[in-house]
């Protein structure tokens, strides 16, 4: 009887119970109502911390894909403009169940971080959304409009400080492009980098920086409340959300920049898998859930797939590399 003491038996009972629970909860086939990829589960990497644009995109995709491809698993690999996630993603060579959200920021980060892994190690599937940038000044700033700001930049480039997100990110690229377009030296732009839009905004609100650059959807509330004053947007045409704000081009600065986000698969997947995944993503962008998402988040629909997307990617890479080299950060 001695060997059946509770102290001896209890751990084994607990282990057995937990094993049964594990087996019961293992989703053997949760392919939804689709036979896509033989019902295998898709895994989607958000190469950033929870809460940011890529994380939001991934989680919205997860919701929109539910009806089309069943349960999709989203996970975060944060850091370094997405290049840490990218270097890990490159290991899934040939696996069509792995996807990763990416965008312009990653294109820039690859250059500025000298990342050993580039987007060549992926199969680009589609561009999904765009979010434009807006140049703002504090509400009580003496800067009237973009022309005024440009005038000050021409006079003393270093005295005009831009507060924005991470070094080599979209905001710094935009500041560099503006300087380049007005004939100033992009390398001399006084850009003060912050680890996030919120932090940059707080520096701007403290009145220390001349201007701020940020995503439109991030600043919409501040603009409406009047704490910051928008002076230009980076889109080709005026934005529905900010109809009174002129584009950079209207103000005579020939720059257009979209903070686009897209999705890629690993390199080395079969052509058939690539087509199937592209088709899936396109169907997702046509779903009601996705349209509602774009509306709610204030993202522009920018669906672009196949060779067109690959060409676009190449030109974006060229533009970004050029300006980053001129600014001395690539």
């Amino acid at each position: 009887m001695q060997r059946w003491r509770p102290a001896v038996v209890a751990p084994w009972v607990a282990a057995a119970v937990s094993t049964v629970l594990l087996i019961l909860t293992t989703p053997w086939s949760d392919g939804g109502d689709s036979d896509f990829l033989d019902g295998r589960q898709l895994r989607l990497m958000a190469p950033a911390a929870p809460g940011g644009g890529w994380d939001q995109t991934s989680r919205e995709m997860q919701t929109a894909l539910r009806d089309l491809a069943g349960r999709t698993e989203v996970y975060n690999v944060a850091g370094a403009g997405g290049t840490i996630g990218l270097s890990q993603f490159a290991r899934y060579d040939g696996d069509p169940t792995q996807l990763m959200v990416m965008g312009l920021i990653m294109v820039g980060a690859i250059e500025s971080n000298d990342s050993p892994v580039t987007l060549d190690s992926t199969t680009p599937l589609a561009r999904l959304t765009t979010d434009y940038e807006v140049v703002v000044v504090p509400a009580d700033s003496a800067v009237r409009d973009l022309n005024d700001l440009v005038g000050r930049m021409k006079q003393d480039l270093g005295a005009v400080s831009f507060a924005g997100g991470s070094a080599g990110g979209v905001e710094q690229i935009l500041a560099g492009l503006i300087a380049d377009a007005i004939g100033a030296d992009p390398g001399g732009v006084n850009y003060v980098a912050h680890s996030g839009g919120g932090e940059a905004l707080s520096t701007l609100l403290s009145g220390r920086a001349t201007a701020g650059v940020s995503g439109v959807s991030e600043l919409e509330g501040q603009i409406k409340a009047g704490t910051v004053r928008p002076i230009a947007v980076s889109s080709a045409d005026r934005l529905p959300a900010l109809p009174d704000v002129p584009t950079l081009k209207e103000s005579g600065v020939d720059v257009e920049l979209a903070n686009w986000r897209g999705v890629v698969a690993p390199a080395g997947i079969s052509a058939a898998d690539e087509r199937a995944l592209e088709d899936l993503v396109v169907r997702m962008t046509q779903s009601e859930a996705w349209k509602e998402t774009l509306q709610r988040r204030g993202w522009g629909d920018a669906t672009l797939t196949g060779p067109e997307f690959e060409t676009y990617l190449r030109t974006e890479r060229q533009t970004v590399t050029d300006v980053l080299v001129k600014m001395g950060i690539a």
Binding site: P50, A78, I84, N190, Q222
Partner: protein, 506 residues
């Protein structure tokens, strides 16, 4: 006030109370685990909550948020393994108390302190938010430089008996803080081409390595694995004397935590260290510091929770998410069609008040659930050390993996664990390293930002009244101990032994 009551009415339905319970439970669970903070948890749960009505989802998030803050203190006190940087200060005295058999008292003062701070913080959030936000907006890079200087001066209390060893630890932390991409220029420093190092070494990994792994390795080397950590002693959970010493510390911790938490770059860790320093300086029982002084638990733990409420000030008043958790809560707001920004309060008042009411309910629930459990938790210490530390190792690795998501992070964890062991063997305190890791990069970034904005003019550092006041505080903090000593001598009191045998400063 009416609105707050409406908020309570929205939040206080049986279904919502159930969600609060779920939230608090999950929050405590993730808080206990290093690396898996409330931000990640809320992000993971967002898709589920889309199907909930807003009040239900928000109340669950609030529970997770405060639960996470609370859970961290339990492991800090019992196992000397803080799960995040804001719990490090709690571990310093809390674990010493647990080792002398007073775990229940330490847990109780942490629980009540969290409740007091959370309550006052929530009230302050409703009453003083706009005022605090006004001051917070004024904080630009020069102000942060001055604030960090205040923090650096104050943390000398953490350095332990040997100045050389304390400073060595501080610099080791600062060195770890250098690793990764330089925010201002985008160049990588000390990353040696390793992708996992590009984004810097996560504070969580350093905390887990230096505390949890260092402790485990120390037991391994000493061969004390079969011992029990500490049997329970003492009947009362919180004696009258404990209470008398705790309550002023709760209030002081709250007073430090809330305003600094509400600063856009304040965070919850800086105020906990400030509070520890303050308590040590003010305490009549200074000789107990380093051996388990209850003020050293009560103060930092309240500061931690008050800061958690403070973080919501910029979020709700100016729509500025200043922490990862705040950013995720903002995402949740957006998914209910709310626009982040200064008009959050006016445009979506109902939801905001429901959130505030939820925070309060979460707080009460935490106290009600945790106070009776204090003795249960404390029993954890009767498990033999090999069981505890094998479990700590398991959760430390889980947390590290969750924080970084790569196996390289586990390697970094192991290496830093060995550094932690060496520091322990050399009697070098590990807490200053965490302080250095947090403060040094902030100080560097803000200083360089300030200078970039002023085009290299150093006078920007004293350009506003606020900066001047903060620098005066720095000077006062530097000369205050000397003046105190002089004053005591005049009155014929024996000066407190400055170099008392603080024993084991870990």
């Amino acid at each position: 006030m009416d609105q707050l009551l409406t908020g309570f009415a929205d939040a206080l339905t049986p279904a919502n109370l159930l969600w609060a319970l779920v939230g608090v439970t999950i929050g405590t669970a993730v808080g206990v685990l290093p690396g898996i903070g409330p931000a990640l948890t809320v992000a993971l749960l967002l898709p589920i909550t889309f199907r909930l009505e807003p009040a239900g989802a928000l109340i669950m998030f609030a529970g997770i948020y405060y639960g996470g803050m609370y859970g961290g203190s339990t492991t800090s006190i019992l196992l000397n393994t803080p799960g995040e940087s804001a719990s490090v200060a709690t571990a310093l005295e809390g674990n010493k108390m647990a080792r002398s058999g007073r775990a229940a008292a330490a847990l109780a003062t942490a629980a009540i302190g969290s409740f007091v701070a959370g309550t006052i913080g929530t009230i302050a959030l409703t009453v003083a938010a706009p005022l605090v936000a006004d001051i917070a907006i004024g904080f630009g890079p020069p102000e942060y430089v001055a604030l960090m200087a205040v923090a650096f001066v104050t943390v000398s209390a953490l350095l332990g008996p040997s100045l050389l060893k304390g400073a060595a630890s501080l610099v080791i932390g600062a060195t770890l803080g250098l690793v990764g991409i330089d925010t201002l220029t985008g160049q990588s420093r000390l990353a040696f081409g390793v992708p996992s190092l590009l984004d810097g070494i996560d504070v969580v990994i350093v905390v887990v390595a230096l505390f949890a792994l260092g402790e485990t390795f120390a037991h391994l080397v000493a061969g004390t694995g079969a011992s029990r950590v500490e049997p329970l002693r003492g009947a009362a959970v919180l004696s009258r004397d404990d209470f008398r010493r705790s309550w002023p510390a709760w209030l002081r911790g709250t007073a430090i935590g809330f305003p600094i938490g509400s600063l856009p770059a304040g965070g919850a860790d800086v105020p906990t260290f400030l509070s520890y320093g303050l308590e040590k300086r003010l305490s009549k029982h200074r000789h107990e510091f380093g051996h388990g002084a209850i003020e050293g638990v009560a103060g930092p733990e309240s500061a931690n929770n008050a800061a958690a409420a403070g973080v919501l000030v910029p979020l709700l008043t100016i729509g500025l998410p200043t922490s990862a958790t705040a950013a995720v809560i903002l995402t949740a707001f957006q998914s209910y069609g709310l626009q982040p920004g200064p008009q959050l309060f006016t445009e979506s008042g109902d939801l905001v008040w429901a959130l505030i009411a939820s925070l309060y309910i979460g707080n009460v629930l935490l106290l009600v659930l945790n106070l009776p459990l204090v003795r249960v938790w404390a029993r954890l210490l009767t498990i033999p050390a090999y069981g505890i530390y094998a479990g700590v190792l398991l959760f430390a690795c889980l947390g590290t993996y969750a924080a970084g998501g790569t196996t390289a992070d586990l390697m970094i964890l192991t290496v830093l664990g060995l550094v932690g062991l060496l520091m322990r063997r050399a009697d070098v305190p590990v807490a200053p390293a965490v302080v250095g890791l947090i403060l040094a990069p902030l100080f560097e970034q803000q200083l360089r930002r300030a200078l970039a904005l002023s085009e290299g003019d150093w006078s920007v550092l004293v350009s506003t009244p606020l900066t001047v006041i903060l620098w005066i505080v720095v000077v006062l903090a530097l000369i205050a101990p000397g003046i105190f000593a002089l004053y005591r001598r005049r009155r014929g009191e024996p000066a407190p032994a400055e170099r008392e045998h603080a024993g084991d400063p870990r």
